[in-house]
Amino acid sequence: MSDMLELVGLVVDLPGPGGAVRVVDGVSFDIPPATTVGLIGESGSGKTMTANAIIGLLPDGATTGGALCWRGDDLLRVDRRRRRRVRGREIAMIFQDPLAALNPTQTIARQVGEILRRDGLDRDEVRRRVVDLLDRAGIPEPARRLNNYPHEFSGGMRQRAMIALALAGNPALLLADEPTTALDVTVQARILRLLRTIQESEGLAMLLVSHDLRVVAHVAHQVVVMYAGRVAERGPTATVLRRPAHPYTRALVDSVPAIRTRTALAHPLPGTPATPANRPAGCAFHPRCPLARERCRTEQPAVRSVAPDHWTACHFAEEIADRV
């Protein structure tokens, strides 16, 4: 009964016009307790589908494979009732666009307190806890904002309300899907800081899904890099960003513009991202890879360890360091 979530060869197939499309293809990694794991990749890399699979909210017709080990169960095989009880109370989720993710016709208090109300707490107790939750999420004068509607909140306040909502069920694992993408740049940093503070003070495990390396660099202890539905590289954040062991990670790091120097212009990634529906044979990254050779076109690289806790899916990872 460990509070560690283990993804073991997770597979997600979505129905498509030309048959099923494998959007998540054998993804394995762990989210240890009290740890933030950053899940990074371009759009279509399968990172959001991975998060949706964990909370069990995949689109109609999706099929899954592999295993999601959580507190002694495989979440892909438990009955629907247990699966539902996990949602919100053990694993909660924060969505990308807080305005769309909040119900426009219900007050903030009603939405944040819904789990508590359905658990049978009396009105005063629910109210007291909602005020406390909003306060922890950094909403000023929470008691006065209870009867506000989402459209009466600013973007940052909405995401804070969303965070309060996710914390209401007292979860052990928080999934945050691009939690700052829809927000103003000035607000993004504050929301990230809040997430980090909450993660640390409550001892939560957190999966931070993002396309933005800088977001992950600031908050995550570990990073998982995904490309075309597969894990490209994973390891401790500092190691992965400083000594990438996959050409794709390397390219991602190089594509981030450095703000303090005028000379170091970003190197954008050449080519277009592979999509799960149109995944190249062998290593999915080979058409864009500077190291690619014949073996990469035919043989899909296995995920292998290059250092303790540092894993890569590249045949020639050892050559990356030489090519600085």
Binding site: V86, R87, G88, M93, A100, N103, T105
Partner: protein, 309 residues
């Protein structure tokens, strides 16, 4: 809130003025000299001239219009020559029966329409959805008078469980109310279905699911209210349209309401009654629209009434 209602009612007065003007115009554009028609083919010219003067038809159109508006403002629509009573009071005595019929039909349509629409829209493409979608198309396609006659045939003649005509007991209400409600129910069901299916794709439905709610809890707690916003508008508009259906249904079932009164009045060239009834119906339709708008802003806190009008 009160201020908005008062403002809307003042606008309503303007609408009613427009309605009165239209009624005035249409009655006078209709072919034939009213005095000649009223007195019939056997009347002699002296009688016609006398009635023309009495009705004020010899005066200039503008004078007639001003007199007409003054009468309308006093709710005076003249006397029905057929019934020998003030037209408006005759209309008002028939109003409760029609209101009973309309409100019952609306209640049936809303309860069954929303329920069916909710069941179908929760899972688009599934069995329930296909059955509801197909049967509502059928219901919308049958003409009202035919449905009414079929219901009389089955329930009054063959089964003998319900009376086919007249009014008085709740049993008398069943067949005409159901006849009137069937196409309305279908409209509400189809609209609710589309609206629910659309709402269920909203991100906040995923949020609700991520709280560990059951699918019925998501549907009733988060999707229903938001789906009802367009439905309320259509119900409000459709209740006005129900008057048209009531005219037919009341005649099929000999229901003593406004609809049968209007048909008799039109057939008998009883202009006073036609004008009074038309004016009253216009007022009722206007009120329903106002109520729908008020409900609209109650359902969706983002809508401010001031911007709706």
């Amino acid at each position: 809130m009160i201020r908005v209602i008062v403002k809307r009612l003042l606008v309503g007065v303007l609408v009613m003025w427009g309605a009165a003007s239209l009624i005035f115009l249409i009655v006078r554009v209709a072919p034939g000299d009213p005095a000649t028609i009223l007195l019939g083919p056997d009347a002699d010219p002296a009688q016609i001239a006398e009635l023309t003067t009495r009705l004020g038809l010899d005066q200039p159109k503008l004078t007639q219009y001003v007199h007409f508006l003054a009468d309308v403002a006093r709710f005076d629509f003249g006397e029905s020559y057929r019934l020998g009573r003030p037209a408006m009071s005759e209309v008002l005595t028939r109003l409760p029966a029609t209101a009973e019929l309309m409100l019952t039909s609306t209640a049936i349509a809303v309860v069954f329409g929303v329920t069916l629409g909710l069941l179908a829209g929760a899972r688009p493409g599934r069995m329930v959805d296909r059955v509801v979608s197909a049967s509502t198309i059928a219901l919308q396609s049958f003409p009202t008078f035919w449905v009414g006659i079929m219901l009389i045939l089955v329930f009054a003649l063959w089964l003998g469980v319900l009376p086919s005509a007249d009014a008085g007991t709740p049993a008398h209400l069943v067949l005409p109310a159901v006849t009137l409600a069937l196409p309305f129910t279908a409209t509400v069901a189809r609209l609710t279905r589309t609206s629910v299916a659309e709402t269920m794709r909203e991100p906040y439905i995923q949020t609700a699911r991520s709280k560990g709610l059951t699918e019925p809890q998501v549907l009733l707690g988060h999707a229903l209210r938001n789906s009802l916003i367009p439905v309320v508008t259509i119900v409000g508009l459709h209740m006005g349209g129900l008057m048209g259906g009531a005219v037919i249904v009341e005649n099929v079932f000999a229901w003593p309401g406004l609809g049968s009164l209007i048909v008799d009045a039109v057939a008998g060239r009883d202009y006073e009654v036609v004008q009074a009834a038309t004016f009253l119906i216009a007022g009722i339709v206007m009120l329903f629209n106002l109520v729908a708008d008020l409900l609209y802003s109650r359902l969706d806190p983002r809508i401010k009434l001031d911007t709706v009008s």
